[in-house]
Amino acid sequence: MPKINLRDALRLAVADGYGDLVTRRTGQAVRQVIEDTLATMAGEQPAAIDFGTVRCLDLSCADEIVGRLLREHGHDRAFVLLNVSPAHRESIEFVLERHQLAVAVTDAAGSSDVVGSVTDAVRQVFQFVAHGGPASAREIAEGLALSPEHAQAALDELHRLRLMPAAHAAAAS
């Protein structure tokens, strides 16, 4: 999965050597760099965005870099956010809940999760697949003690939100 490093994107976007993703202007500039990179990537290839070097992520930047990216590109491409800290996660979650969106994230230890507006069942199924690999609705239903209908609905939602590639990638790593 191609990886976009936000430190590199920040350097390309603004020449002043900023270390934090704050202000809407900076967020817009960084998103533009990300979109330029996405334009060079094959059609629906999933993209990873690495937050590992980011100290502060404010809501304006979270909206521009994650919220707007998902609103404008999330329908035809899956994203996973890497090295997301608890503080980053708060800003991202706040923005995505407002827009009823969700994204796959990993923390510095490599643990995967979903951030944003999803039901507990969807989150559970994501974790199940991320840890155990691809599974059928029946296997998920048995493993999580869900009804087959609920398991299938959660799988459908994961596909709709394009979260499944991240779950599979987490299982494979």
Partner: protein
């Protein structure tokens, strides 16, 4: 003609309305801000005073007069807080200004700092993270995550100036012992500008919706409670809502004054009213955030 505007002896958010009343309506008179009897000024008072000077300067093209506190310790504190370094831009300063080295002291986490554009916000966030993290965690017992959220809240508050004020403004961050009601150490963020204010910023998109109710108070309600913005982009209007959520998690207080109204999200330790209307008019917007030490 010169008119005297008395700076309250205890100049903080509580006495700010008294200051705004003295400041009054725009006139042709040159103003003399008399702080000679000032005994204490909170961060909110200091940035509010600068905003008043800025408003007068931008309106008249002439600096107002300012007499410094007569009390040496008070004047010294104003210098340490960075106020006196910024004041000559908008005030003809009278009185002995103490010389102080740039503050490395722990109670002034961010000296009074101008905010005009996105670069200033980056500078503010950069400095606060360098200087405040240890104090916030060791003295206020905030978790590491909370110190990052603190930088986020500071950034969003400063961006309100950049995005909406139509002019520059001021920010300062200090920590001190809150004697009133709480009796605990607090960290205070004060942000002030003399710009267009919430009502004028939101008027083109929101006034019709509110009809006769439209005014400073309803504009503040729309921004803080409903999260509306003058921009139609659905991603806008999140800043104040995010600040509000952050502060409520840490039992903090948020107060926003604009024009003739003030709205506050108050924790249990504070007795401020949720919404005050028909206050003496003061230009722009003034934001106060207080986070108490965790127990």
């Amino acid at each position: 003609m010169t008119r005297v505007v008395e700076v309250p002896a205890q100049f903080d958010d509580r006495s700010f309305d008294q200051f705004a009343r003295e400041y009054g309506s725009p006139s042709d008179e040159r103003l003399l801000f008399d702080a000679h009897a000032a005994k204490w000024a909170s961060p909110y008072g200091l940035v509010g005073l600068l905003a008043a000077g800025q408003a007068e300067f931008e309106r008249r093209g002439e600096r107002s007069l300012l007499t410094l506190p007569g009390d040496r310790d008070v004047a010294h504190y104003w210098a340490r807080a960075g106020f006196l370094r910024r004041a000559p831009e908008y005030f003809e300063v009278h009185g002995k200004a103490p010389r102080v080295a740039p503050s490395g002291e722990s109670d002034v986490l961010l000296e009074v700092t101008p905010v005009h554009g996105a670069d200033d916000v980056h500078g503010v966030v950069d400095r606060i993270q360098e200087r405040a993290a240890a104090i916030l965690s060791h003295e206020l017992h905030l978790e590491t995550q909370a110190t990052m959220g603190f930088a986020m809240a500071l950034s969003e508050a400063c961006q309100n100036i950049v995005e909406h004020a139509g002019t520059g403004g001021w920010v300062t961050v200090q920590t001190y012992q809150w004697r009133r009601t709480l009796k605990r150490r607090v960290v205070v963020i004060a942000v002030a500008d003399a710009g267009v204010g919430f009502r004028r910023s939101l008027e083109p998109t929101q006034a019709k919706r509110f009809g006769d109710r439209w005014g400073d108070a309803s504009a503040l309600e729309a921004a803080l409670i409903q999260g509306v913005s003058r921009f139609r982009d659905p991603g806008r209007g999140q800043g104040l809502a995010g600040i509000r959520r952050y502060l409520s998690r840490w039992a903090g207080k948020l107060s926003v004054r604009s024009g003739t109204a003030r709205i506050a999200i108050t924790p249990s330790w504070d007795d401020d009213v949720p919404l005050a209307d028909n206050l003496p008019h003061f230009p722009g917007s003034q934001v106060l955030m207080i986070i108490p030490a965790q127990q």
